[in-house]
Subunit: 427 residues, 2 copies
């Protein structure tokens, strides 16, 4: 390694350390600020976003122009693009988060010991949260706002293609913070796109309390493998819908089409359809009709293909693939036990559903499938913080610790025990 | 690396993988077993421990004899030793855990969406928990029992010096499992003392859901640095007691002696005494009298030493040291702000206390000190799951995610969302 490179790495390490120290100081100030001040900041930021719509569109236009020059794909350009409606939705999102109940200071439990000690478990902010994300600029507003609402300082590391849009949004957030008298370092953007900055974030155990990666599998896996800071990660959404022998055929057909095709690119989209052997012959062809009519490609196991020749042959890899596209793997299984077994081996523990009118089969599925969200007679596309009534979310956690499922404001807090005595000493 | 070494490593990897797969299968069975079966297993294990007291004493005697031959220290021999009272306490502990409310299946929250979807957040076991600990054989019973109560399978890795004692205790636990018709693989001991087995555990992300290290700093740091499996760790207990200017002198003296000297070796023992400048001259000498009379060594900053010459000079390192011994660092600070500042820079975020009759100072301290447990007018030695009324604990978590403070049965669970519909599809 030459000395210029070493110097550059030292510079980035120093830069990130300063950013972390400022975030930590801001987190300390936020901990003693009122919930009202945090909501005021969010509402002022929302207003500023509305006022700055032309500036946001201009910054985003520059990002889009450069992305186009660099030959980015249409899907990526769509994720990157802001328009007046998206900007309005972003501002409305901040107002909605401002309106949520303040989680900080909530007494989660309280009890008194025989010796008179009063013990309370009280919700508190986590501290400093690092968020690493890709192209969507609205994440800057959503993630920054959710962290602030929960009393945390945020260090945001967005994608290089959205850098101008992200800074324009950040300016609005900082305007909100200043309006409410809160430290501007409560929400910061990493000012360099050097990948070494991400490596630094993942090692800043004394300064960052939690890392949330929000992006594709490559990003999440890198973060999970490298991070020394605890990670709240959304890995894959390999979601299953199991159509049981006792399913209502009409419900099953409507739910399967919705679960796969409403928006095939979201993490709650069903990727594998499991059909009970008992109804495969009678029900599968109709479901294939529905799906094929809407342009879905189907890949089946031997039993499914024997029933409907329109299915291509599925490979072993299909059972472990998150297509995020209009492709569905189909397998015939032996009843609810067969479905639970397949899901146990192939699910990513995100969301799995059973369609049945048999209450006992439903309860068995709901109890035995070990996923963040288990569903009965509904579409896996409902796996979403907004649809759960939790307001905005920062992602869906597929891990089992701290938070599972949609990660909203409450999931961005921790708690502490407050013990009040009157001179008690321990015998 | 020669081929014999490679072969040995492959053997250990294979052995650990088999152990993990058996634990995972057992965890699946436990998830559908009743809480009553789990309690029955614990009670039967307690009875068996009482019946097998002579066998446990004999196995422990062999461990002690070998430890003695290897020249282990007196403190270590004491931690390793079982006697009839300790064995009875271990059995009573299992009965107590059996008597706790069953956490599994508890509905933590439940709500209905406008579209009719019913959503419930339900407590479920985490799955497979790996516990890595050192010499105390009673951890085998406590940790295995807490995991089982919460519906988890446990993979236990005890210290080499306790290997015969641990296997004798494990036999009693397995007797309990068999009595209740539960899989014996629900609690397993790693059958080799090869250190490579620990390395394997820390990489078994698909088979172990959480690792709990329970031991000294070297062990915990190794686990935190190497583990790819999420870790619930207790790092240091650098606990502070701050005597405010408005402290009741009698309470302050009694609490400080208790907080330091009741049992200096536990993690909740106070390691640093902070004294408000306003009362240092009047109160510190009396506190030093109390502590010195009970054999405590004192190390002070310049201001403290100017008030009481019995204090040795503290070095910078003293503020960051967990003595676990009859040694106390003493610093004079400028009021509650000075105390909060010192604690922010030196606390291990375990337990910190303020002694004061000034309610505003107390509330400020309780709000601003960012530790798992914050206390007012009582002894840091109360930082203990049993003293909190949570029953047995597996340790005190100093991390902020998942669980903070005492880790009891409830903290060894997670939750899932159960969504019940009637054919709803997402618009």
């Amino acid at each position: 390694m030459n000395s210029a490179m070493t110097q550059q790495q030292d510079d980035i390490a120093g830069l990130m350390h300063d950013l972390g120290a400022q975030a930590q100081a801001a987190a300390h100030d936020l901990a003693s600020a009122s919930g009202e001040a945090r909501s005021t900041a969010l509402r002022a930021a929302a207003d500023e976003i509305r006022r700055q719509t032309p500036a946001l569109l201009a910054a985003n236009g520059e990002d889009l122009a450069e992305a186009d020059r660099r030959g980015l794909s249409g899907a990526l350009l769509d994720r990157l693009a802001l328009d007046e409606a998206r900007i309005a939705a972003m501002a409305d999102g901040l107002d909605a988060i401002a309106g949520f109940a303040d989680p900080v200071g909530t007494v989660l439990a309280e009890w008194r010991r025989p010796n008179g000690l009063k013990i309370a478990r009280v919700r508190v902010p986590i501290g400093v949260i690092g968020i690493i994300y890709e192209s969507r600029p609205n994440v800057t507003a959503d993630a920054g706002a959710l962290c602030l609402k929960a009393g945390n300082a945020a260090i945001l590391r967005g994608g290089s293609e959205a850098v101008r849009s992200n800074h324009a949004i950040l300016a609005c957030l900082k305007h909100g913070l200043a309006t409410a008298g809160l430290p501007e370092a409560a929400i910061q953007l990493v000012p360099t796109q050097d990948r070494a900055a991400v490596g630094e974030m993942l090692r800043m155990t004394g300064l960052i309390d939690m890392i949330v990666p929000r992006g594709g599998r490559t990003l999440t896996e890198r973060v999970q493998n490298e991070s020394r800071v605890p990670v709240l990660a959304h890995l894959d959404g390999i979601c299953h819908t199991y159509v049981d022998g006792a399913a209502d055929p009409g419900k099953a057909r409507a739910i399967v089409v919705n679960a796969k095709l409403r928006r095939p690119g979201i993490c709650g989209a069903t990727e594998t359809l499991l059909v009970d052997r008992a109804v495969a012959a009678s029900l599968l062809p109709a479901m294939v009709d529905d799906l094929v009519a809407q342009g879905c490609e189907l890949r089946g196991d031997a039993r499914a293909r024997a029933i409907d020749g329109r299915l291509k042959e599925a490979s072993q890899a299909d059972w472990d693939t998150e297509y995020l596209d209009a492709v569905l793997a189909v397998r015939v299984v032996d009843g609810v036990a067969g479905a639970i077994d397949h899901i146990g081996r192939h699910s990513s523990h995100h969301t799995d559903a059973i369609i049945t009118e048999d209450a006992a089969a439903a309860e068995r599925f709901l109890a035995e499938v070990d996923s963040a969200i288990v569903m009965h007679n509904t579409s896996t596309q409902f796996a979403d913080g907004g649809e759960f009534g939790m307001g905005a979310e920062i992602g869906i956690s597929t891990g089992k610790l701290h938070a599972r499922g949609p990660v909203g404001v409450e999931q961005l807090t921790t708690f502490k025990y407050v013990v009040r005595g009157d001179g008690q000493i321990r015998p």
